[in-house]
């Protein structure tokens, strides 16, 4: 019978207290690994959000606010910038491409982004990857929309379907652009960035939604009948229902006919856009044009370098994630101290067991090894259980994290850093286990074969 075997049987004998210790360690390991994995994945998807863009230009605001609103669709840009300024800056020497961005509308909680065809040509994410179409193609005219993969997945949208977008942001919108339905002509491949949760429309579509024709129609249109009596309202409701129903049938049957549209104007005559992305022929132009934009007289503008601002933003979040990691590290330490308490408190009761082992020839070093191997066993089992719980948590929480926070967690093997963390826990467990082992060693030296309990 090896010492490990003996240690295992001894642990089984004290299963209640050992199980509690084991679960404490397992939960702390799960917590540590989960925080670490979410941190890594968040950092990964964060830094992958945009690449290949040299400058982002918007109305004068904070760098981070501009980045958040234009790239992450978080918060709202307070002001837009005029189309004239955009045209002027676009015409500067060295500018390779520009992507105008107009935000502010939403569809069932997903952002609607107005742009032109440059968006699909020049927008880069991850390692300078271009946007790829899972189905369909870019928009050709103002009645078309290209949706991100998450939008398609969550709303069960398909190619050729007609949808309406709402004015304003958020899930609940009180102002529907029912008069301007858009046909889904493209569904993008997943990118793991906010693009997945965005509906892309031409700038002209945005203009049409907010144009004078729309407002007139809207104020006099069917929706206003809700101000009338109940009968009308019910009637309208029924009508809407039937209408939607018919539409669904139409979509199924005329699915691909909608895609054979004629190319039209994508831009229209916008007065303002939210921001625009810029790429230069040479990096040399970046700082020069940025300086020029920042001192641009006709309008107060801000130009940010997304890489720099991303780093700034991450360094702000870095403190939070480090504090989280520190907390989970402390939780692990507390769980290991819990193990120390359990082992120490049981030690006095186990002096009899140690004396028995001494009487059958166990040397103090055997007692030390036995006690240490118990701690190692508990820590190792705790770590294994913790890893199992961690994977279980990932499987369960994956969807929620993706849906609520946009963090896509991949179920993969433990990274070398995560293995290193487990190694540190194992070493700490062994060191902590050595404390009662040293005590047991001296007990066994003093007690010998006689039991003085």
């Amino acid at each position: 019978m090896t010492l490990i075997n003996l240690a295992f049987k001894s642990i089984i004998n004290r299963k209640a207290s050992v199980l509690l210790t084991l679960f404490t360690i397992a939960i702390s390991v799960m917590l540590l690994l989960s925080i670490e994995r979410v941190r890594q994945e968040a950092k990964q998807s964060f830094s992958n959000t945009i690449s290949g863009t040299d400058l982002i230009v918007g109305a004068r605001t904070g760098d981070i606010q501009l980045l958040l609103s234009s790239v992450f669709r978080i918060g709202h840009a307070n002001n837009g910038l005029s189309w004239q300024s955009y045209e002027y800056i676009k015409a500067q020497k060295g500018v390779a491409w520009t992507i105008p961005i107009s935000l502010g509308d939403s569809h069932k909680g997903f952002s609607v982004l107005g742009s032109d065809d440059n968006y699909f040509k020049h927008y880069r994410y991850g390692s300078k990857q271009t946007l790829q179409f899972e189905h369909g193609r870019p928009y050709h005219n103002a009645q078309e929309v290209v949706i991100g993969s998450e939008v398609a997945k969550q709303l069960h949208y398909y190619l050729g379907q007609e949808i309406v977008v709402a004015h304003g942001m958020g899930n609940t919108s009180f102002h529907h652009h029912n008069d301007n339905p858009l046909v889904i002509v493209g569904i993008l491949e997943p990118t793991g960035t906010p693009v997945d949760k965005t509906l892309h429309v031409p700038l002209k579509a945005i203009e049409l939604m907010h144009g004078p024709k729309h407002s007139t129609e809207h104020t006099t249109g069917r929706k206003d009948s809700s101000e009338g009596h109940d009968h009308d309202h019910d009637h309208d409701h029924d009508h809407d229902h039937d209408h939607d129903h018919d539409h669904d049938h139409d979509h199924q049957s005329h699915n691909y006919e909608n895609l054979n549209s004629q190319p039209g104007d994508l831009i229209g005559q916008p007065k303002q856009i939210t921001a625009f992305l810029m790429g230069f022929d040479s990096p040399f132009y970046t700082l020069q044009i940025r300086r020029n934009i920042n001192i641009y007289k006709p309008e107060a503008l801000s130009a940010i370098m997304p890489g720099v601002t991303l780093r700034e933003l991450w360094s702000m979040l870095d403190i939070v994630e480090k504090i989280l990691l520190l907390f989970s590290g402390v939780v692990v330490l507390i769980s290991l101290l819990g193990m120390l308490t359990t082992l120490l408190s049981s030690l006095n009761q186990r002096r009899r067991e140690l004396a028995i082992l001494r009487s059958v020839g166990a040397r103090p070093r055997h007692i030390f090894a036995l006690m240490t191997s118990e701690a190692v066993l508990i820590t190792a089992l705790g770590c294994m259980l913790g890893v199992a719980l961690f994977y279980f948590l990932i499987v369960v929480g994956k969807g929620v994290l993706q849906a609520q926070f946009g963090i896509s967690i991949t179920i993969s093997m433990l990274s070398s850093y995560e293995l290193l963390l487990l190694g540190v826990i194992m070493v700490s467990g062994t060191i902590i286990g050595a404390i009662p082992a040293i005590r047991a060693y001296f007990y066994s030296l003093n007690d010998g074969m006689s039991i003085k309990v």
Binding site: S10, N13, E353, I356, L357, V360, R363, P364, H366, M449
Partner: protein, 228 residues
């Protein structure tokens, strides 16, 4: 087998010695009954013989090995290799089966394992045989230790002492928890095993009525100069 000469031992912090034995010789294969009232130094003598404690003066030789010349580790090894102990309260590990408790007896001794190999036995087969010989059936051998009767537990403790053929068996009041019938049966079985395994028995008890069963009786009170 055992030679004790001019032995003096005091517990730390005590001015008077606990044990002072001028001379005690035990022959190989002898069954010696060491008698003494409580507090006469029986346990102290046993811990000296087992090499747990070291005498301040004089020497103890077991199998011609001077224990005082050995360091702690070597004394531990010597005990594991050559001495089997049966305790008053059996000292079985409750989380091991009777078989595992017996096997534990040769777990820490390479010499005992080698002895088993010479006999062509494994630790488990030898443990099973010892328990069989001591009257524990196969079903009992795999039950939980705390489900066994006192007599059965004592036999498991005896089997543990004998496994791997140690030369010396120290029995420290092993029959104090047994009734007279079981006590005699146990001692008879002990002698049978000792004969079979050619072991010397040092039986310690305060119960002088057991003395006639043994080859020789020694009263610790008579030989311990400290208590005179």
């Amino acid at each position: 087998m055992i030679q004790i000469s001019d032995l003096t031992f005091s517990w730390p912090g005590q001015s008077n010695p606990t044990l002072q034995i001028k001379d005690l010789q035990i022959k190989t294969g002898e069954r010696l009954f060491l008698h003494g009232p409580s507090g006469s130094g029986k346990s102290t003598l046993l811990s000296l013989l087992a090499g747990i404690q070291c005498a301040q003066q004089g020497n103890i030789k077991i199998l011609n090995e001077d224990l005082s010349a050995l360091n702690d580790a070597k004394r531990d090894k010597f005990r594991a290799d050559h001495i089997g102990t049966i305790f008053q309260n059996f000292n079985l590990l409750p989380y091991l089966s009777p078989i595992d408790n017996v096997v534990l007896g040769c777990n820490f001794s390479k010499r005992r394992q080698a002895n088993l190999k010479t006999e062509g036995a494994t630790a488990t087969s030898q443990a099973t045989r010892l328990l069989d010989e001591l009257g524990l059936d196969e079903n009992t051998q795999h039950r939980a230790v705390n489900e066994l009767s006192i007599g059965q537990q004592q036999r498991v403790a005896a089997a543990r002492a004998f496994i791997g053929r140690p030369e010396l068996i120290i029995a420290d009041e092993p029959t104090s928890a047994l009734d007279a019938d079981n006590r005699d049966i146990f001692i008879r079985q002990l002698f049978e095993q000792a004969q079979q395994y050619q072991a010397t028995i040092l039986f310690v008890s305060h119960d002088a009525s057991l003395a006639p069963l043994f080859d020789r009786k020694v009263s610790l009170a008579d030989i311990n100069g400290a208590s005179l």
